[in-house]
């Protein structure tokens, strides 16, 4: 979604003015824009009457929040313990090889962002890969190539 002052203000003002909503407001921004735009951080600081630095501290502390825009498709590779011992690191290497980016990065064409997460609660299907909220269980390096190919060709199924 396009970042504009009006829709940032609208988002912020849907909460009452209290520090306790700071995290929730930033999470809403994250959901709407896939990152926390700078304008958003500044506007929120103004609304709550707190320094930008205190919100910046939160935005960098909480892993759910990102300060840089994400790619069109987000690939999350679960590296929880169950996935780890069932070969998650091989998948992580695989995604790195396929896309040429490391976890936390976005491809230069803006098509993919790659993240590792610490457990999605789907341990029984380890190792798990999530592409744009579609879950793939028991992923092998072989399957992985196919999944990425499908996404390239027109989004996750």
């Amino acid at each position: 979604m396009e970042v504009s002052r009006e829709n940032i203000e609208e988002l912020i003002h849907s909460y009452e003015c209290s520090q306790r909503h700071a995290l929730a407001i930033m999470q809403d921004m994250q959901r709407r824009y896939q990152y926390i735009p700078r304008e958003g951080l500044n506007a929120l600081a103004k609304y709550l009457g707190c320094p930008v630095s205190s919100l910046y501290a939160m935005a960098t502390f909480y892993k759910a929040l990102s300060l840089v825009p994400k790619g069109e498709h987000i690939i999350k590779c679960c590296d929880g313990t169950a996935c780890h011992i069932r070969g998650a690191s091989t998948l992580i290497d695989g995604v790195e090889r396929e896309l040429g980016i490391s976890p936390g990065e976005t491809t230069s064409d803006g098509l993919f962002s790659f993240e590792t997460v610490n457990c999605l609660g789907s341990c029984a299907m380890a190792p798990v890969l999530v592409v744009d909220d579609v879950y793939y269980g028991r992923v092998t390096p072989e399957k992985l190539k196919g999944i990425i190919q499908t996404v390239r060709e027109g989004g996750a199924k």
Binding site: R38, L41, C50, P51, V52, S53, S54, Y56, A57, T60, F61, L67
Partner: protein
């Protein structure tokens, strides 16, 4: 004045000597008041609940159970025996000092502590080159309460650092040096000459006293202080201001 009532007093023993402290008083203060020095880095009397450098460890024995506590945040609630220099304390402190020395190899304060209290051999590890900061975060808290909240802790875990938002020159910093004054290891660099002060990537013009020419502070810092107190922007140093005040008084009441 409730804290001076006798029932708020607790008898404790520090390193074998009987001492008195107030219920709820932090152990570090109780010990120091009674003449036992416990080393610290991140403790600052004006900034509560730090407790992060972990240099001020002490051993407390309560009901025959011994535990290691962090004395700057440990409130003494019941009679106990305290050891500020037991073997257990020394062993742990040596490890903590090794970790700090590897973290901030450039800090002379830490080197001094290591010499005085002993340090574990850290030659197995690669120190963080050029680092001085021990990540206690006092600067950020001082800035939030005395300054403008220009800096904060950023990130978490082993990547944690102190910085301005987006690592850019801060647009709210007033160059008041509150951060540098509380820093226990002199880790925040700044420069100053006759006319300007540079810190956190910005330059601040210095204002001089109209009378004696001494530096009063940065223009931004003086404006902030005036804003907070509701007074006019000062152009005199505290000394000259006092002198001017007494001159006015003398003139008004005619004691000359």
């Amino acid at each position: 004045m409730t804290e001076f009532q006798p029932d708020n007093q607790i008898q404790i023993e520090i390193n074998g000597r009987a001492c008195t402290c107030t219920k709820g008083e932090f152990l570090l203060e109780a010990a120091r008041r009674n003449g036992f020095y416990i080393p610290t880095l991140c403790h600052h009397p004006g900034i509560a609940e730090q407790g992060c450098c972990r240099v001020c460890l002490a051993e407390v024995v309560e009901n025959e159970r011994s535990k290691i506590v962090v004395s700057c945040v440990y409130p003494v609630e019941k009679p106990c025996k305290v050891y500020t220099d037991s073997e257990r304390v020394k062993e742990d402190r040596k490890v903590v000092l090794m970790l700090l020395a590897l973290r901030a190899p450039e800090s002379t304060e830490i080197q001094a502590l290591c010499r005085q209290y002993g340090v574990m051999d850290g030659s197995r590890f690669k120190p963080i080159e050029g680092e001085k900061c021990i990540m206690c975060g006092l600067c950020a808290r001082a800035c939030a309460s005395l300054g403008t909240g220009a800096i904060s802790t950023v990130l978490r875990g082993t990547s944690k650092k102190i910085s301005t938002p987006y690592d850019e020159p801060s647009d709210v910093c007033v160059g008041c040096l509150s951060c540098t004054r509380v820093c226990p290891v002199d880790a925040i660099p700044y420069t100053e000459d006759e006319t300007k002060r540079s810190i956190w990537g910005r330059e601040f013009p210095l204002v001089h006293c109209q009378e004696c020419g001494a530096v009063i502070g940065t223009r931004e810092e003086i404006a902030l202080a005036a804003g907070k107190s509701g007074e006019e922007v000062q152009d005199l140093c505290p000394e000259c201001r006092k002198k001017k005040m007494s001159d006015v008084m003398a003139h008004t009441y005619g004691t000359e």
